[in-house]
């Protein structure tokens, strides 16, 4: 039954009741944040593919299976960077990896050197280099957009909340977004554990779904989505929490590394963040960089089962310059693995591997790798996307369950109290509204003028303005009608994206399918798939709205659960 048996007295009755209370309230209070995190987090698994769709000027790409020429790409990228920023203290190159991300270009980021007193430092150099032509892509020719990265960033940084933190007694608290997200994640962990404890018939009801029975059906849907995906839910929540261990427990980091100016940042970088272990301070003397190709060849020998994905060049042009080459493999060991070279002589300075002497650290690394899913091949990444969506459905069904349960408890002549009316209506705006807002982000990407000032920011503003509009709509309409209308709007908003795409760009479904660019085609096809799902939801919601509009007392009882 899964219901709290209020008649059960004694310890077990009270225990179960309080666990159930806890589960309900941690879910309800931060449900909107958790739903937002699940939706944006799910898009994060396809962030590179989404970015490529949102930059149609990058064109089609058909070479997904043949490994790229790493050395050629790296040399070309480095040459372009040094031509634009000759003494960059930091150059990051991100190379496309076969079958694991949808990009067809090298991503370049180079920091500008520190400026003399009183002057502004020059802008960082950011560019993309086509993997096939090895030519830099002119940024003026690609529309300014946050792409999928911005959606993924919202997953853990939310949006519009300043990334600032309080410092109390020498300890820096987590930044405000990190704090909110962390509290939400902790609530989620409590919700999972209490949910398992309170779900009496967890095995008996494992495959049970009884639609058309009001609250019973929502409970079944909530149970199914959480229990069948339980390993993922536990993993994603716990790993999400430990991702910010040193932010949430600053005293641990302070005890090991000190506070304020006493902190040895190089040690923190290498031991904690597993980065830049062989970096050296610049000497100020100039020296030419050795060619990258032999270093890359050496790295490929060191990591035979992986492809080279990241190349970090520190203090290029200085005698103390170093090059870190990172492989990206399909294994779960997580953490950082890289081989470091003296950039002038080309000699190996050292390697960094999984933390052999730190079993706890290694467990943490594996959990973080599982959370981010970068190791996953295409098929497994689709599973991540689906399971993330199931997670969003889990939160959504929980929210709807709360309001359905309370509405059904009302007697025929009783009116809903303010709390119930509020939750009933905001549920529509939150659940369906966020999805419509997500679609509007893609619409904005296609429709906002390409040369517009602050275009990337405005794409996101459109998304949140739409969400606000949907919440307003839900506040003004009766809940049942609001559901039907918003699901219909969601179906149209997603379903028409391939059409808008075809009207405004060259990378529409006809072109991408014909050329075999499966990554871009998958985006449009996914939009259609989502639209079909929302159309189904719209139909169900519409029939429910019609039934309640013409309801008589006997019809109302048909949605109440039978006496158990």
């Amino acid at each position: 039954m899964g219901q709290v048996s209020k008649d059960a007295g004694g310890f077990h009755g009270a225990f179960r009741q309080s666990i159930s209370w806890m589960h309900t309230w941690v879910g309800l209070v931060l449900g909107v944040v958790l739903y937002f995190m699940f939706v944006t987090g799910t898009t994060g698994y396809a962030q590179h593919e989404i970015t490529r769709w949102m930059k149609p000027e990058l064109g089609l790409q058909t070479n997904f299976e043949t490994p790229h020429d790493t050395a050629a790409m790296a040399e070309a990228a480095l040459a372009t960077t040094l031509a634009n920023l000759p003494s960059a203290p930091l150059i990051y190159l991100t190379l496309p990896v076969t079958g694991r991300d949808g990009t067809g270009y090298v991503n370049i980021y180079a920091d500008s050197p520190p400026a003399p007193e009183g002057q502004e430092p020059a802008e960082a150099y950011e560019a993309q280099l086509s993997a096939t032509t090895l030519q830099p892509i002119d940024p003026a020719e690609v529309r300014e957009t946050g792409g999928g990265q911005v959606l993924y960033t919202m997953h853990y940084n939310l949006h519009y909340i300043p990334f600032e933190s309080l410092t109390l007694f020498g300890f820096t608290l987590p930044a405000w977004p990190t704090l909110i997200v962390g509290i939400a994640t902790m609530f989620m962990l409590v919700a999972i554990i209490t949910g398992i404890v309170v779900h009496k018939k967890i095995f008996a009801d494992l495959f049970t779904f009884r639609p058309g029975k009001g609250q019973r059906s929502w409970l079944d849907a909530h149970n199914l989505s959480s229990v069948l995906a339980l390993p993922f839910m536990i993993m994603i929540t716990y790993s999400g929490l430990i991702m910010y261990t040193y932010d949430y427990m600053p005293t641990v980091k302070a005890a090991a590394y000190g506070v304020g100016d006493a902190v040895d940042t190089a040690r923190v970088d290498c031991e904690l963040h597993e980065y830049g272990c062989f970096k050296r301070a610049p000497t100020g003397e100039r020296a030419a960089l050795a060619p990258l190709s032999p270093m890359i060849a050496r790295a490929e020998v060191a990591y035979p089962d992986a492809e080279i994905k990241w190349i970090d060049i520190f203090n290029a042009g200085d005698t103390a310059a170093t090059v870190d080459i990172w492989p990206s493999g399909g294994d779960l060991s997580g953490g950082s693995t890289f081989i470091s070279f003296d950039a002038v002589t080309g000699e190996v300075l050292g390697t960094k591997g999984a933390r052999q002497d730190n079993p706890v650290g290694r467990v943490g690394d594996v959990l973080l790798a599982l959370h981010e899913g970068n190791y996953a091949g295409p098929m497994l990444r689709w599973m991540y996307l689906l399971t993330g969506a199931v997670g969003a459905a889990m939160v959504a069904t929980g929210l709807v369950l709360w309001s359905t349960k309370r509405r059904q408890k009302l007697k025929a002549t009783e009116r809903a109290d303010l709390g119930l009316a509020f939750v009933e209506r905001t549920n529509v705006g939150i659940i369906a509204g966020l999805l419509i807002a997500l679609a509007s982000y893609f619409w904005a990407n296609r429709l906002l003028p390409v040369g517009m000032e602050g275009r990337a920011d405005w794409e996101v503003n459109v998304m949140f303005l739409t969400w606000g509009a949907m919440l307003t709509h839900a506040a003004l309409r009766p809940a049942r009608k609001a559901w039907a209308e918003q699901w219909l709007l969601a179906a149209l908003a997603f379903g028409l994206i391939p059409v808008v795409n075809a009207v405004t760009t060259d990378i529409h479904l006809g072109a991408t399918l014909a050329a075999g660019d499966w990554v871009l085609a998958s985006f449009d096809l996914s939009m259609l798939g989502l639209a079909a799902f929302f159309a189904l939801a719209a139909r169900k919601a519409a029939s429910r709205a019609d039934r309640s509009a013409s309801s008589q007392p006997s019809a109302a009882t048909s949605v109440m659960e039978p006496a158990e």
């Binding site: 008996a204 495959f207 049970t208 779904f209 069948l228 993922f232 497994l380």
Partner: protein
């Protein structure tokens, strides 16, 4: 390929485990299961799941393989639940018991 093999084994295994429960056996097979039937379905079900996991681990390695198997359990579980509900008319049948007199017309 491994996805298909392990996927089908997982689907078969979870179906067997589901059918070992009376509430699902009744609408699918028409009768309540005997004790022997329940036992053989459970043994067969777990065996299929173990085989699926074994294949995953052997072909993909322990770490990756177990993640894939977990994902398959998730997907197959949802599939079994939906097939039982919509494929075998459990929509109105409640617990698979005979309809009450009130519903018989």
């Amino acid at each position: 390929m491994i996805w298909i093999v392990s996927g089908l084994l997982t689907l078969a295994g979870l179906s067997a485990l589901a059918l070992s429960q009376s509430k699902h056996h009744k609408p699918v097979m028409g009768t309540l299961p005997t004790i022997r039937r329940v036992r053989s379905l459970r043994v067969g079900g777990w065996l299929a799941l173990a085989l699926a996991a074994g294949f995953c681990v052997q072909v993909l390695g322990a770490g990756y393989g177990l993640v894939v198997q977990t994902a398959l359990l998730n997907a197959a579980g949802v599939a079994v639940a939906l097939i039982l509900t919509y494929g075998f008319g459990q929509v109105q049948g409640g617990r698979g018991q005979t309809r009450s007199a009130a519903n018989r017309r």
